[in-house]
């Protein structure tokens, strides 16, 4: 058995060690393009979990690595002149150069052949060829892997400094050009990694494209002089980069397999690149041993084992990259909320899980919401809007669509405002006109199935909504606006606290907002006129339900949705109820748990308007996390109903019993 490993980074060297350890009769050669002591980058990060895997895989390297590690358990967040500290985040880092030395020495000890300064232009002859040659892998170009490489996130530059941070430190600095942020962490007793990042607009505004390497370094050194405590930044070919997100549909082609960054990258802001790469080496070596060195079966096992874990990490990393890309929109948040939003950016930490790591932090967070040192979690905190008090963040009872007229009903079962009487509790009266989605069969049968004997439907288009839907007629705008006003007046006498105008999901007002439906230039004209007219007669909380995006290539994007939300807020809306899609029947939605939370985050923080959001939030923890991070003000929960005799779901049911009135 002969294994050729192309690329002498951590994953390639580590694989070599593990293979020789498993079977000393295997010939293993590592071919590296650069010299043994050439390395780029400063420190690399490991989690406790990764260290555990390294210990199990090869105790000797584990011992040497842990001897030199810098460890921390704190994340410090420097923002608006304050430093917030969160504990319980056990991580460690090592100088990349030191890690390579350890691995190279161990390779030699176990008999891995190491060659440096070797350019591999064609695939070597071997039973197994491993492409461990990084994000711009050459081996990858010699096979069929379905490779996709695209830039993600902001501009970034990777420095070292001799200021030794004593925790993982995020620094946020507002400048006239926008926000810069730093990811800094110690990696040995004398040095720290210091990555500076900023959105492209900030980068161009500050003129970084015209600066030399030395000028850039000086600029960053001055900008963060206080954080560096007067120490220096060091460059190691430190130039501004775009992060390449690498994905491959398959990781092996015949007897050639990809490892680490060659197979997949994960944005540096979650610090998982080296961890994923070395875990790949462990999985591949284990699979080879388990499969008795049957290469085909091994490579399949390796992909099946690593694929899902890598995909999850990549998804979290992309969320994190997006957060830093939008960092400027969060600077209105007060420090503790800003910090929690940052900590929960990738979806891997929630209110509940942070509460286990760092109960002091969540207690402070809860206290800020509850305005008392001992407070329940944020979803249980009161909220006030236009003089209306909400006892908690999830108790609002949506009415379901109530039509302003018989013509505006979705199905014959839809109540009109004249028939509707409010249930008990704090009600969200959802007032609307179904437009071209009216006159359909009951929802127990399906949705958008036209009645055989329906009534005429209206919309700002002649195109029917879906298959077999009726051709819409022209809306009588003045009359419909008057129906909304009359309905709002009637609601005023029914003790309703929150009135919502339905401008989402392709109902009448929503259909005006989308270029997929409405061809007029000023698409907000009629919806805003309805909002304006209702605002005149409705003194309490007025919400607008909006599809924040059409989920269609020619429809409204999220940015368009944010602009519409901003216009609605300026037009008198107090609250935006965040929805998405259904503007047209053949949109391309992205359903998952909490699929609307990221949209709510964007509206709330970019348009700076309070939001209400649902989107299949299935736990109280989802609500606590969304509210605490400033992604929403109010939520609609979708708690699963479960039988008490199914123990796994019993806790959900108990929770639900606890929160329903």
């Amino acid at each position: 058995m002969r294994v050729e490993i192309v690329g002498g980074g951590p994953s390639g060297l580590y694989l070599g060690i593990l293979l020789r350890r498993a079977d000393p009769s295997v010939e293993v050669r590592v071919a590296e393009r650069n010299a043994p002591d050439a390395t780029f980058g400063w420190g690399v990060v490991f989690s406790e979990e990764t260290l555990g895997s390294l210990r199990d895989a090869d105790p000797e390297t584990h011992l040497e690595i842990t001897d030199t590690l810098a460890r921390w358990d704190r994340v410090d967040i420097r923002y608006r002149g304050r430093e917030l500290r969160s504990r319980g985040h056990s991580f460690s880092a090592i100088a990349r150069k030191r890690l390579l030395e350890i691995l190279q020495r161990r390779c030699r000890a176990v008999g891995v052949e190491l060659e440096f300064g070797v350019e591999v232009s064609e695939l070597p002859e071997a039973d197994l060829v491993v492409g461990a040659d990084g994000a711009s892998s050459h081996v990858r170009r010699l096979g069929e892997f379905g490779t996709k490489v695209e830039a993600e996130g902001s501009k970034y530059v990777w420095f070292g400094t001799d200021h030794v941070f004593d925790a993982f430190t995020f620094v946020f600095r507002e400048t006239e050009h926008g926000v810069y942020n730093v990811h800094a962490y110690p990696y040995d007793e004398g040095m720290s990694t210091f990555i500076v990042e900023c959105p492209i607009e900030t980068w161009l505004g500050a003129g970084h494209d015209d600066m030399t390497e030395a000028e850039n370094l000086t600029y960053c050194e001055q900008l963060f002089a206080r954080d560096l405590r007067g120490r220096e930044l060091f460059s190691n070919r430190s130039v501004w980069l775009d992060f390449p997100k690498v994905t491959n549909t398959v990781w092996h082609d015949g007897g050639v397999v990809l490892l680490g960054d060659a197979a997949h990258t994960a944005h540096f802001s979650i610090g998982s690149g080296t961890k994923l790469a070395m875990e790949d080496s462990i999985a591949l070596a284990n699979a080879l041993a388990r499969r008795g060195w049957d290469v085909e079966a091994t490579l399949l096992d390796y992909e099946l084992e690593r694929g899902p874990a890598v995909e999850r990490t990549q998804a979290a990393a992309s969320e994190s990259a997006g957060y830093f890309r939008r960092v400027g929109s969060y600077t209105h948040l007060e420090p503790i909320q800003f910090a929690f939003n940052l900590l929960t950016r990738s979806g891997r930490i929630t209110h509940a899980s942070l509460g286990i790591r760092d109960p002091r932090f969540t207690r402070a967070l809860d206290a800020r919401f509850g305005r008392s040192p001992v407070s329940p979690p944020p979803a249980f905190s009161p909220f006030e809007l236009r003089g209306v008090r909400f006892e908690n963040r999830f108790g609002l009872e949506p009415s379901g669509l109530v039509a302003v007229s018989a013509e505006g009903r979705v199905t014959p079962e839809t109540p009109t405002i004249d028939e509707w009487s409010p249930p008990s509790g704090q009600v969200l009266l959802q007032l609307g006109h179904a437009g071209r989605r009216a006159a359909t069969q009951p929802r127990s049968v399906g949705v958008d199935l036209p009645l055989s004997e329906g009534w005429p439907v209206v919309a700002p288009t002649r195109r029917p909504y879906g298959p077999f839907s009726a051709v819409p007629g022209e809306p009588d705008e003045a009359a419909i606006r008057e129906q909304f006003v009359a309905a709002a007046r009637r609601a005023g006498g029914l003790g309703v606290d929150v009135l919502e105008l339905d401008m989402a999901h392709g109902y009448l007002l929503g259909s005006y907002l989308s270029p997929l439906v409405n061809q007029e230039d000023d698409r907000l004209r009629f919806p805003l006129s309805v909002l304006d007219a209702v605002r005149e007669v409705w003194p309490r909380v007025l919400a607008v339900r909006l599809s924040m995006a059409d989920w269609h290539p020619r429809g409204n994007s999220v940015s368009d949705g944010v602009a519409i939300a901003r216009a609605m807020a300026e037009g008198g809306a107090d609250l935006i109820h965040v929805e998405a899609g259904q503007t047209v029947h053949d949109d391309r939605p992205e359903y998952r748990r909490g699929f609307l939370t990221a949209l709510s985050d964007r509206v709330r923080n970019e348009a700076r308007v309070p939001t209400l959001v649902g989107g299949h939030l299935t736990t109280i923890d989802d609500a606590n996390t969304a509210v605490a991070a400033g992604r929403a003000d109010l939520v609609l929960l979708d708690l699963p109903t479960a039988d008490i005799d199914r123990p796994l779901e019993a806790s959900n049911r108990l929770l639900q019993a606890g929160v329903s009135r």
Partner: protein, 275 residues
Amino acid sequence: MNVGVGLPTTTPGTTGELLLDWARRADEGPFSALGVLDRIVYDSLEPFAALAAAAGVTSRVRLATMIAIGPLRPTGLLAKQAASVHALSGGRLTLGLAVGARMEDYEAAGVDSRGRGRKLAEQLAYIRGDVDGDRIGPARDGMELLVGGMSGQAFSRMARYADGYAHGGGPPRAFASAAARAQAAWADLGRLGQPRLWGQGYFCLGDAGRGAEYLRDYYAFTGPFAERIAAENLTSARAVKDFVRGYEEAGCHELVLFPTVADPEELNRLAEAIA
């Protein structure tokens, strides 16, 4: 969760006699449903023909297409075929529909594959909306409708027109993630209650080599994924038990296990494994 079993309509060597024998045994056994797959360019049986045959020798099990590729058939004909099997079986059809994954099936059927998603939506609206129900019988009352597929559009079509979701197979974790998407779509479209969730897997409790060989051949059109699918074949009673448990935990209502070897003994082995 109920456990059903697939009819061996796509495995080599299935005769009419074997198919009927298989259906009879399944109807007597612990299984809740008989499932069929749909493919034109392969040595396989047409799903509605196979279910019609099974309808004649069974009285209890549901008969399910997991899935049938709707757009390969003109809409009126699809509705007619489904309604006929439903009537012949005394109202036991579960009609799972999706757009399928093989362009060669569309070519062979002489159907343009472009616009297949739109056509499926039309077919679902036609069948569920009872558009021609007064002219084209038999009645389709009680016919359960499922939609399969992994795209966002598949989930919204499911929630808009169907009673539930037909998952395409994979480990329980993959099913759980698809189930969450189905539930999110269901609530987003304002449907009441929960979608019915159907899952599927492959098993071979006899000659595992033959099972793997069949899967590699059947899924050759997926390129490198054929090996993955073959590797996930359930080849021991322990693997079947774990899989069944995993699907149950993930909220599956009906799990249909498809044979990879057309040997009636496989039914007994599966019955024992899930007992």
